[in-house]
Each structure stands twice: as C-alpha cells, then as structure tokens.
C-alpha cells in the first residue's frame, strides 16, 4: 500500500523507547490502574533495565499525558476527571478541525487510502479493547494524512489520554460501541474523500459528541 518511495527509515531506537512502549502497554492492559504509582526501581527490575532508561521513559510518558510526576514525589498514572474529559474533548476538537482542513486541502490519494484501510481494520476487531485500538489508529491515520508534523505531535500529546478515555467509555457500555463505530468511521472517510469540509467537520464533531455522551451522561 503505497511504499512512499524510500526503502526504510532504518533508525535504531534506544532502550528508553522500548521501555516506554512496555509501560504504556502495561497501563492500557490494566496492569497499572489510573492513580497507581510507578516506582522506578520496580519497573527497572521488572524490565531488567537500569533506572536511567526508565526515568527517560517516564518523562516521555509524561509528555504523552499518560502519567504525571512531581518532584521527589514519584510518578502516577493519570486519572481523568470530568473536567479533564471536557478539556480533552475541546482540544481534540480544535486539533481535528485543523487536521480535517489540512487533509481536504493537501492529502494525497495514498494518505486517504491509509485512512480507508484503518477504517476497514475495525471490522476485524475481536473485542472492545481491540476496537479502541483501531479507533485510535484511525485518528492517527487522519492526523498522518494531514501532513503536518507539529499537529501530529500535538495529537500525540493527548492521544494516550484519549485512549484512556475510550477505555473508560467501553467500561460504561460496550453495546452500541462495537456495532456503530465502524460505520461511523466509514462515513468520516467518505466525507474526507469527497473533500467536503463542512460535512466532514460536522461528522467528526458528532463522532466526538457520541463518545463524550456515553461517559458523562450516566452518572
């Protein structure tokens, strides 16, 4: 699917990156619940790495908003209050609005094909957790298609928090989610392909609204 021309970036990653990935996965898997403390010695022991890379990984996760840390007070997994959800939603809205405009203005056919593929992958999602993963992947594809480095970075800064948010969403009600979401995303793709800014913006806004309603409505 559109090999981009170049062969491969071939950049080797550092240990800190892999540690960050491990911790991130552990959090999403539920090993570390929101509010739990992430002790450096414990992590370094479990991952068989020194505290240096762990420390660097935690700093990266903090950049992603997945954890929060205070001086000499350790690092804890982020807990999302209702206010946090509201912030996440409004900021995500601002970023997605720019992304949609950029996609409609500059995205190539290959970029749109990637978005399409991400939407298709949703049909194959086994459980709710997998669906959330696909959901995030879809929006990743949209931001990638926007071809806007800094916008993508801004999305990455809240991406994991949105993931966390969707995780609490499926905790509330898995019913409508698995069935409706794939179709909902297919409509987003269609609007993007049609280069219809107005329709796409409205659909993305509705998409976000649905997610927020599920979490906030039932006390």
């Amino acid at each position: 699917m559109s090999e981009q021309g170049r062969v491969a970036p071939a950049r080797r990653r550092g240990l800190a990156d892999e540690v960050a990935d491990s911790i991130r996965e552990a959090i999403f898997a539920g090993t570390y619940a929101p509010g739990a403390q992430l002790r450096e010695v414990e992590l370094s022991g479990a991952l068989d790495v020194s505290r240096g890379p762990v420390r660097e990984a935690l700093l990266r996760l903090e950049r992603e908003g997945l954890v929060r840390s205070a001086w000499h007070r350790g690092t804890t997994v982020t807990t999302l209050s209702p206010e946090d959800v509201a912030e996440l939603d409004s900021l995500r809205g601002a970023l997605e609005e720019l992304a949609v405009r950029q996609v409609i203005a500059h995205a190539s056919d290959d970029d749109l094909a990637s978005v399409d593929k991400a939407a298709d992958l949703m049909d194959r999602a086994a459980d709710a957790h997998g669906m959330v993963r696909c959901d995030i992947a879809f929006h990743d594809a949209v931001f990638a298609a926007a071809r806007h480095q800094r916008l993508a970075e801004a999305w990455e800064a809240i991406r994991c928090q949105v993931h966390l948010f969707l995780l609490t969403r499926i905790g509330r009600s898995t019913e409508g989610y698995l069935a409706c979401i794939p179709e909902e995303h297919r409509q987003l793709v269609a609007a993007l392909r049609a280069r219809d800014a107005g329709a796409a913006l409205e659909l993305f806004a509705a998409h976000r609204r649905h997610a927020v309603e599920v979490v906030t409505a039932p006390a």
Copy 2:
C-alpha cells in the same frame, strides 16, 4: 493582583528544570544558534552539573520543540524552515481560536486583568528582544486566562518555536514592530474584554498574519 486565594504552591523544582531554563535562555540570547550542536559534556561542564540533569533538560527542551535529537547523534538547536513557519502558524491559529473562545466564555476579571497587564508591559520594553519577550508573555497570559490545562500545554509545546520565529522576524525588520505591536495587542485585549468572539478571532488572525508576512514576504 488577584492572589488566587491559596498562599503558594511551594513546590521546589529539580536541577533539571534550572538547567533547562539556562539552556533555553542561552539559545534565545544567541549563544547557541539554530543548527548548533548541544553536547552534553560541554553543557554539564559549563553549568557545573552532571550529565543526568542535562540529559533530562534536553528532553524537556525537545518537548518544547526548541531542539531536536536523534539516537546516538546528539541534540541540535531547531532550525525553522518556511514549511515549519507555516505549520507553526496554522497550529498556533487552531490553538488560539480555542483559547479565545474559552477566554470569552469562562475567563474571570482577574484573568483579563493579567492579560491587560501583559499588554501594558510592552510599553516598557527597551529593545526588540525585550519586546519579543513581552509578546510571548502576552500570549502566555491569554492561554492562562483560558483556564484550560491541556491547551496551555499544547501552547507550551510550540511557544519556544514561536519565540524563535519572532526572533527571526525582528532580524528582518525592527521598524514597524516596536511601534505597532503594543497598540495591536491593546486591540486584542479590548476585543477580549468586550467578549466579542467574532472581532477577537479576526484580530488574532490578523495579528498572526502580520508576523508571518514580515518573515516570508522579503525573500
């Protein structure tokens, strides 16, 4: 000016934060020009600190977009290409639009007073560098008045880059800048105080346009 009620956060900062501040200031002062390499040993020697905090500081500066680093290839001061400037402008626009809406919707009188004060401080700016500092401080105040933690963080992620951008602007022409900018910001404050979303949005957009034009227009 509005003590917020609480006495003081009283949180002590780590060494890494201070190191980050020092390096940041050095970059803005021109000690390290864009593209220059930031060697860990050199910095740790100059600041009389170990490489640990320096490493952590560089990671933080990378989060702020002030430097870029690759694995085993060191850290360099960010250089802004024309495309980067375009990205910065559009993303900043998206963030400021949300900020303006938030300010108009939720900002307290104290918040607006802070913005006002930031605008007044511009009259006392001695040179162009000081003016740039005030310019950034003004927008800091706006984002602070928005009372939106994550939005403020998103702004911080490009704040230093905008600072860098404004620095290249005054490199092009200092003439109009020193004279017009204070008045321009006063109009922004007025629109914010009037809670006039349409006018404020347009004025902020024009404000950004002016800055970009100076840098991009004269080849």
